[in-house]
């Protein structure tokens, strides 16, 4: 992505106080969860920027006090053929962020997976339930404090 486009994006998003970083060559934006819907709407609908596809939403557990979780959204533009990442930093006690399903329908299962694995809640999601683990599972497996070999007796096995 050339510098022109980065400057254009910075211009359009000046209201939201974003910070530009870099993920080995691809630009990344650090965004506040309050403004994420507005930022994504500008990135999606503005014809000069036009990131039409949401490719992925992944949770990351940094295992520090305070800002512990991150959600990294990966956008792709079919018109200009480039990518951008959006990182949303979330709190330890109550990791919540608005759901992106109102902009992209594909955010549905990505957010379900982030909820299942990390416990990050997405407000406004139509059907937030677990996707890999059983419905009544109580822990969040990908968090760093969950042991690799699992917690014994946390899944009900069928009786013989």
């Amino acid at each position: 992505m050339n510098q022109e486009r980065i400057d254009l994006i910075k211009l359009k998003l000046t209201d939201f106080n974003i910070v530009f970083t870099d993920i080995t060559g691809t630009p990344a934006i650090n965004a506040n969860p309050k403004y994420i819907i507005n930022i994504c709407k500008i990135l999606k609908t503005d014809p000069d920027i036009s990131f039409e596809m949401l490719l992925d939403e992944m949770g990351v557990d940094n295992f520090k006090k305070g800002i512990r979780f991150e959600v990294v959204c990966s956008l792709y533009s079919l018109k200009f053929k480039d990518r951008i990442f959006i990182k949303v930093l979330l709190d330890d006690k109550n990791p919540e962020m608005p759901s992106l399903t109102i902009l992209w329908k594909g955010a549905d299962w990505y957010e379900r997976e982030a909820y299942d694995m990390f416990g990050i809640k997405f407000t406004g999601h139509p059907d937030l339930r677990r996707i890999y683990m059983p419905e009544d599972y109580e822990h969040f497996p990908m968090r760093k404090d969950f042991p690799l070999l699992g917690i014994p007796d946390s899944i009900q096995l069928p009786n013989k």
Partner: protein, 425 residues
């Protein structure tokens, strides 16, 4: 054991819900009448073990007669915790795990993962290594599309092309046997290149395969494509529009079947695809028949790519010799001191990448297979996220199956071609 069912029936435990037919069995009065069965909707469980669901995919289908009202896919039956496992293994140790992701083209997953790690540690591999990896990716694509073709027509009812496709696939597996030592889950690539050089017998085998393959593909196509049953069962079934496909984040043959010419090999070329001459298949209709044709066309283009790769294969080393990142050859490890030290450091402490993140994607046969790796300087990845195309493509099943008949479910799943190893990670 055989008494258990009846014991449960007789118990007073309120948790055991009795269906009406069981109650009727128990009650003395057998003149009980049921509600008119045709007026209700039925929930059918196409359970995780099913011959047509391409793995352990569970579908809950709500039916009105034979028409589908709603479909809810249920995943997680093959969830092995690969992302959590990556945090406990070093970068080298994780390569065999990537084989088992999309288990129909294991060698292509290895290429995707090692490319992602090399992007993180900023390592360049020599030309011969890139050519060998391209050959592996394209062979993997042909291998995967042969199974997609064979199983899709087998679900429709044509049993012969499935075995013919398997016969062709056996030839590819024999090539892998000579090249890597393993037929199936190869773990062939290493960080910095490939594990060993491609022997001449393998090159001869690939040449023989790609010279004969178009003729056999033509044979397989001839008995399928002009058949009226096949056309009626796939044309117009499982349509998705271009806007919906972009909205859902679909990649791969499904997106190309709706008219969007997106292929990572052309848009963001990796390995040596910018030096090769090939076309990408794009069709407009978005139904199952278009997806079938796109896969056939991709196989033909892969043969074209393989011809060019074999003609241009350069001489040279097959992996970057950087001693701090690349595992040395075993015979030198056993005899020389320096290689022993490097081997020890790499195996025990891992390839220590700089602190940072990277994302790298390849175009696999199902779509965009991407790896997001975040490292904190140690030998294990801090976070590894696999963007698997089958997971994203399974999201659209409810859209594809709107107002279809129950017998279209297998055709649609066959045309979407999910691999549960990838979708469940």
């Amino acid at each position: 054991m055989h008494n258990t069912v009846f014991e449960k029936l007789k118990s007073d435990d309120p948790d055991i819900r009795k269906s009406k037919i069981l109650e009727a069995l128990e009650s003395e009065d057998l003149s009980m009448s049921f509600d008119d069965a045709l007026e209700n909707e039925m929930v059918l469980n196409m359970g995780p073990q099913h011959p047509a669901t391409h793995g352990v995919l569970r579908l809950l289908v709500s039916l009105d007669g034979e028409t589908i009202k709603k479909v809810v896919p249920d995943l997680g039956y093959l969830h092995r915790g690969y992302e959590k496992l990556a945090e406990a293994t070093s970068f080298h140790e994780y390569i065999p795990h990537t084989d088992r992701l999309d288990y129909l083209q294991p060698i292509a997953n290895n290429v995707a993962y090692t490319m992602a790690v090399e992007k993180l540690i900023k390592l360049e591999i020599p030309e011969r290594g890139k050519y060998i990896r391209t050959i592996c990716s394209e062979l993997g694509r042909i291998q995967s599309h042969l199974i997609a073709f064979g199983t899709m027509v087998m679900d429709i009812g044509a049993l012969t092309p499935f075995l013919w496709a398997m016969r062709e696939r056996e030839k590819i597996l024999d090539i892998y046997d000579i090249m890597t030592g393993v037929r199936f889950t190869t773990s062939y690539t290493r960080i910095g290149g490939v594990a060993q050089d491609i022997p001449d017998a393998a090159i001869a085998g690939i040449k023989k395969f790609i010279d004969e393959f178009p003729k056999y593909l033509r044979e397989m196509r001839d008995i399928v494509e002009r058949n009226k049953i096949f056309i009626v069962r796939t044309e117009g079934i499982g349509i998705i529009s271009k806007e919906d496909a972009i909205d859902y984040g679909i990649t791969g043959p499904i997106l190309r079947a709706t008219g969007v010419p997106r292929d990572l090999r052309k848009d963001e070329p990796y390995l040596i695809y910018d030096k090769l001459d090939f076309d990408i298949a794009v069709l407009e209709d978005g139904d199952s028949l278009s997806r079938y044709y796109i896969r056939i066309e991709e196989m033909i283009q892969s043969v074209r790519i393989l011809h060019q790769c074999l003609d241009k294969l350069p001489k040279g080393s097959y992996n970057s010799g950087n001693p701090k990142k690349v595992l040395p050859k075993k015979e030198r490890v056993y005899t020389k001191m320096e290689e022993l030290i490097h081997d020890f450091m790499l195996i025990n402490f891992g390839v220590n990448p700089p602190v940072g993140e990277s994302y790298s994607a390849v175009e696999s046969s199902k779509g965009e297979l991407g790896f997001y790796i975040k490292s904190d300087g140690r030998g294990n990845p801090f976070r590894l996220k696999i963007h698997s195309p089958s997971f994203c493509n399974l999201q659209i099943l409810p859209v594809l199956m709107k107002d279809c008949m129950i017998s279209d479910v297998v055709v649609i799943i066959g045309s979407v071609d999910p691999v549960m190893g990838e979708a469940d990670k």
